[in-house]
Symmetry: C2
Subunit: 188 residues, 2 copies
């Protein structure tokens, strides 16, 4: 069927959104493209590389420009934009978390965060770790959020009350041991 690499990525994103990450298999994707699974290995070394490309495409589609300005406003905008991009596709957060788990992908948000944090005057090495921490948080939180959202939309019963849509929490973090300080909390 003479697919290009980009056709494969586009179709994979489509399969992801319609059937979920668990059903995004090489065999299924091949079928959707009218091609044997082995043909996919012409375009990608392995499934991990494919998923990394799909994750990056998902993030690219969700990318919104971040206005210059105060560094904390930029960090906020990057995190909010990332969250929105993840929620735009089924299992988006799980996909990106998976891809990051094997050390690939999501370089865009990472770099953007790191640069914004350097703009805050953070030591360059520290800015990298801080960017990782923020990504942990946004991915973890959005993963939960998306799991609950999808459970709600699939279940026979309506959502749990959804008590606002909460919360704030301040942390101060980490060492060889972990040192945590909850510095503020607010609800709205």
């Amino acid at each position: 069927m003479r697919n290009h690499r980009q056709d494969v990525v586009d179709r994979a994103l489509d399969v992801l959104d319609r059937y979920g990450l668990a059903d995004l298999t090489m065999r299924r994707l091949g079928t959707e493209l009218g091609v044997r699974p082995s043909a996919l290995y012409h375009h990608f070394d392995d499934k991990q590389s494919l998923l990394a490309a799909v994750a990056d495409e998902l993030l690219a589609r969700g990318a919104r420009p971040v206005a210059p300005g105060e560094w904390d406003a930029r960090v906020t905008a990057i995190c909010a934009g990332l969250r929105e991009a993840l929620l735009a596709y089924r299992d988006g957060a799980e996909l990106v978390a998976t891809v990051r788990a094997f050390g690939l992908g999501a370089a865009g948000p990472y770099d953007a965060l790191r640069d914004a944090l350097r703009g805050a005057g953070l030591d360059p090495a520290l800015a990298g770790t801080a960017a990782d921490t923020l990504l942990h948080f946004v991915l973890g939180h959005t993963l939960d959020e998306q799991t609950h959202l999808q459970a709600g939309s699939a279940g026979a019963i309506a959502d749990d009350p959804r008590p606002g849509s909460d919360f704030a929490l301040g942390l101060a973090i980490v060492v060889d041991g972990i040192r945590v300080r909850v510095s503020e909390a607010a609800r709205r």
Copy 2:
């Protein structure tokens, strides 16, 4: 071979530590126990339940009593203890993160954190969300840490310099949009 449920859990933890999560399959575990894979389904409904039991066993083995006292010291001790428990077994962080992803396990640390945070005067519902956030952070951070540690110990080349052992970061977090504020940072 007349295994009890606990024998299966113990052996699974052993296989995890020796071969990693990817090689902890029902078939492999059966072989290690001298039993057909189907025999495992006498003890567990499915692999997810097995993994949940293994995760809880891992956490139970790593559990250390948390001294009463200031709530923030308790939160710190719980997080540090959790991290230590996760690092004590190969792929420990990945296992617990996986188990939590399908909504099971790690209830112990969660409850402990929630109770400590209530002790800080947090609204009960907020304390639950805050406990989730802390778990996100500790799991995410320890996952990275363990990945790098294991990569280092497996690689042909020695560790990257390991520049101290980093970092602190303050956050204030989340909503429908995500609002992040980096409130402090320090290195040592």
